[in-house]
Amino acid sequence: MKVRVHLFALYRERLGCGQVEVELPAVASVEALLQSLVETYPSLARLVPNTMVAVNQEYAGRSDALHEGDEVALIPPVSGGRL
């Protein structure tokens, strides 16, 4: 299946692009998507552990299943610690 991945901020700059389409097996989790992205774009490897993922505009867990046509977004950390 195909999912569309939106990229923002640092991620957008790293990949030079605001969204990419990723081809995944018919049954795949958020985690599987992230692994596939890191294979294609090794510069994401260090960032991914701190990344939140939104699926259809809701925060999702790593083990959540993805479905054909899902809108996925990689969310770099939103807020720093020092407030």
Partner: protein, 151 residues
């Protein structure tokens, strides 16, 4: 009311949207862009938003203050795009009959925005830039890998 805009945020007009004749108290928060981060001089800033999700999350947050304090008179406005140093990036205005709820709800909204709303800030220096999460963070949450510099 929720507003995501490239235009300058007008405090007086936005606050007026929240005020009503039965409210005795209005509390506002302004997030403004600072001239330095950890001693480095900031030249300008750029805010980027995941638009549709920002809207959803802000609606959720306004639902939460309605639930918790019965407050319906609230405005959240976030500016995106390029901002000069000193300009206002965020305005939150909350009106309530009494001040205690107005302060509590305004603090709550700003906290929740920082936690859950996907908006990022780029601070541009003379010799590079960093992406940080919020206009108050002041901490570089990006790493500083070789391809992260000079945008």
């Amino acid at each position: 009311m929720i507003l995501i805009t490239h235009e300058r945020l007008e405090l007086e007009a936005l606050t007026a949207q929240a005020r009503g004749p039965s409210n005795g108290a209005v509390v506002t928060f302004l997030g403004t862009t600072r001239d330095r981060t950890e001693g480095r001089r900031v030249l300008y800033l750029e805010y980027e938003a995941y638009g549709p999700m920002v809207d959803n999350k802000l609606q959720e947050i306004l639902g939460e203050i309605r639930e918790r304090w019965g407050i319906t008179d609230a405005v959240v406005a976030h500016r995106i795009g390029r901002l000069e140093v000193g300009e206002v990036s965020l305005v939150v205005a909350v009106a309530a009959p009494h001040r205690k709820e107005a302060f509590a709800a305004c603090t709550y909204i700003v906290d929740r925005i920082k936690e859950t709303v996907p908006i990022w800030k780029k601070e541009v220096f003379e010799d590079g830039h960093v992406w940080v999460g919020s206009e108050e963070a002041g901490v570089t949450t990006s790493d500083s890998g070789p391809d992260a510099g000079s945008g």
